[in-house]
């Protein structure tokens, strides 16, 4: 009887260990994905624009957690650095500076709403069909996505395998996308750049290379006449 009891408890222990691991994985996955979905909804649902940006940040963070969970730790970290650390900061910066809340209230109140609904509907249907096509293709022809190539070897780290693909097979695509970004950046700067006249600027070289003879002049001042200084 006693040995049976021990066997039973050992079995329970084994079961709990395996279930624990599975449950832990599931718990983490569902926590992050629920946070991601809810915050994505809240981005559009919340009336305060700054709150929307904060929800967007929460969304980015939970998605990068999901990336880390599937073993793509490099992508997850880059997501954090680029999107949360830089892009969202600029978003927040702009949203805080602009008085968007007022404009938004006007949209909700006036007839302007009707103008935006069809555009939003068209874009969202387009995105919906794109997702359908991607998932459908994945479901029926898994070989076109070539998952085996990217995730098969676990001996090489994530970063290494990404670099090996990115800088060999796809080097031209990679360089061209970088060039497009550069052109976009230069274009944005050129479009917004205004040369204002009459702005005082500090020239460091001019300051450092100033000599005493240029800056100081000793004058003999006669009483009751003064000196004329041309500025």
């Amino acid at each position: 009887m006693a040995t049976d009891g021990r066997m039973f408890w050992r079995l329970i222990l084994k079961l709990t260990i395996s279930i624990d691991k599975m449950i832990a994985h599931a718990i983490f996955f569902y926590t992050f994905s629920i946070i991601a979905v809810v915050s994505a909804i809240m981005v559009t649902a919340s009336k305060n624009t700054v709150h929307s940006v904060f929800f967007l940040i929460l969304d980015f963070i939970s998605i990068s957690c999901l990336f880390i969970m599937i073993g793509a730790e490099f992508l997850g970290m880059i997501m954090l650095i680029v999107y949360v650390g830089a892009v969202a900061v600029l978003f927040l910066f702009v949203v805080m500076m602009l008085n968007v809340a007022q404009q938004k209230n006007q949209w909700f109140a006036g007839q302007a709403t009707s103008k935006h609904i069809p555009v939003g509907l068209i874009i969202s249907t387009l995105i919906f069909f794109e997702i359908i096509i991607v998932i459908g293709g994945w479901k029926y022809k898994p070989e076109i996505f070539d998952i085996n190539n990217s995730l098969a070897s676990t001996s090489v780290s994530n970063t290494h395998s990404l670099g090996q693909v990115l800088y060999t097979d796809y080097i031209h695509v990679f360089q061209i996308s970088g060039m497009i970004l550069l052109v976009a950046m230069v274009g944005a700067i050129v479009l917004t750049f205004r040369q204002r006249s009459g702005v005082k600027k500090q020239s460091y070289i001019k300051q450092i290379s100033r000599e005493r003879s240029e800056g100081v002049e000793v004058l003999e001042v006669q009483s009751n006449k003064g000196v004329k200084i041309d500025d």
């Binding site: 222990l13 709990t16 260990i17 624990d20 691991k21 832990a24 700054v50 904060f54 940040i57 730790e73 490099f74 970290m77 880059i78 954090l80 650095i81 949360v84 650390g85 830089a86 900061v89 600029l90 927040l92 910066f93 805080m96 500076m97 780290s157 994530n158 970063t159 500090q202």
Partner: protein, 332 residues
């Protein structure tokens, strides 16, 4: 059940790391004030405890018993979240700092990226605090810090690329081990200087403390905070400074490695060496605070974008070509 015991072990390890970090943050505040005072021929805090060592404890006690005031027109949730975010982000980054080859909480593949990501998230605590206060001075401070921290992050990122070119791995332990023959501070000395100055700007230390410039902005983003919430901002800030020092020690000063590979020095545990290096960098931080006047805002932006970024980018090209020409690129 076994899973739970693993979880408890991890919690125990985390506590074993976090409690010393928090205590050393309190001590480092004392050290900062002390160094600052000595440079100005003052005594600094020397009344509470031996050499004034318990000053931070007394301050903390004072903060705890002060009333927390939440402005009525503030955005309350974000106002309360802001110091918590600052504090949490400053502490979670310590998870990847290696204290020796084995003493590390999470020895992850992308350790340096994690450190960089967490330090770049630090700006949110400040922006949230400044915006949620719904008041002019905090908002100006927050806007300034957002621009400042984003600018200097860029040059820190490029400097990290410099180091990574010499290492060939993103793991922090690999970075330390790669410096076995020579610390990176010797071949990459200009990068070390730029990293140090960028770290000053990234942690809002003088001479780049524009977000909380007391002469113009009262206390910047912290103006509306009081009591324990203010103390949390303060602790988070110093924990971030310590973290930046640790990052500098790992990237350039050989982390937990002993400076010379001879008999009596090897016996000293790695954690002690790391702490000594962090302290060295921190004393430099404190000295800079005492001797350098505050930068003007346009000068700050010019330094970040027009001096540091091009310099570090050129250095990336130089390092890469040197390593490539002499066939020294780390391949594994």
């Amino acid at each position: 059940m076994e899973y739970l015991s693993i979880v408890f072990q991890e919690v125990y390890k985390i506590l074993f790391l976090l409690v010393p970090v928090l205590v050393s943050v309190a001590m480092i505040v004392w050290l900062d004030r002390r160094v600052w005072a000595f440079v100005q021929k003052r005594q600094g805090p020397n009344v509470v405890g031996p050499f004034g060592l318990l000053q931070s404890l007394a301050d903390a006690l004072k903060y705890i018993f002060k009333e927390i005031i939440i402005p009525s027109s503030s955005n309350k949730v974000i106002f309360i979240l802001a110091p918590i975010v600052t504090m949490t982000l400053a502490l979670i980054a310590w998870a990847v700092i290696p204290f020796s080859a084995t003493q590390v909480l999470a020895d992850i593949n992308v350790g340096i990226l994690y450190l960089f990501a967490v330090s770049s998230l630090g700006v949110y605590g400040i922006i949230m605090g400044g915006w949620a206060s719904n008041s002019k001075y905090p908002f100006l401070g927050a806007i300034r810090s957002a621009a400042q921290m984003v600018s200097y992050e860029v040059s820190i990122g490029v400097i990290i690329i410099n180091v990574l070119l010499c290492v060939g791995s993103l793991n922090l332990n690999d970075i330390v081990i790669a410096q076995q023959n020579m610390w990176f501070v010797i071949p990459l000395f200009p990068m070390f200087v730029i990293f140090f100055i960028s770290a000053l700007a990234e942690t809002n230390r003088p001479p780049f403390d524009l977000p909380e410039a007391e002469a113009e902005l009262v206390a910047g983003y912290q103006t509306e905070y009081s009591g324990m919430m203010y103390a949390m901002f303060w602790l988070g800030e110093y924990a971030n400074i310590l973290l930046m020092c640790a990052m500098g020690a790992i990237l350039f000063l050989g982390g937990w490695m002993s400076p010379i590979d001879v008999y009596p020095f090897i016996l000293v545990p790695g954690a002690i060496w790391l702490i000594l290096k962090i302290l060295l960098l921190f004393i430099l931080f404190a000295l800079v605070k005492a001797i350098v006047p505050r930068y003007r805002y346009d000068q700050l932006m010019r330094l970040g974008w027009k001096v540091f970024l091009p310099l570090s980018l050129i250095w990336v090209v130089l390092t890469a070509s040197y390593l490539f020409y002499f066939n020294l690129l780390p391949v594994n």
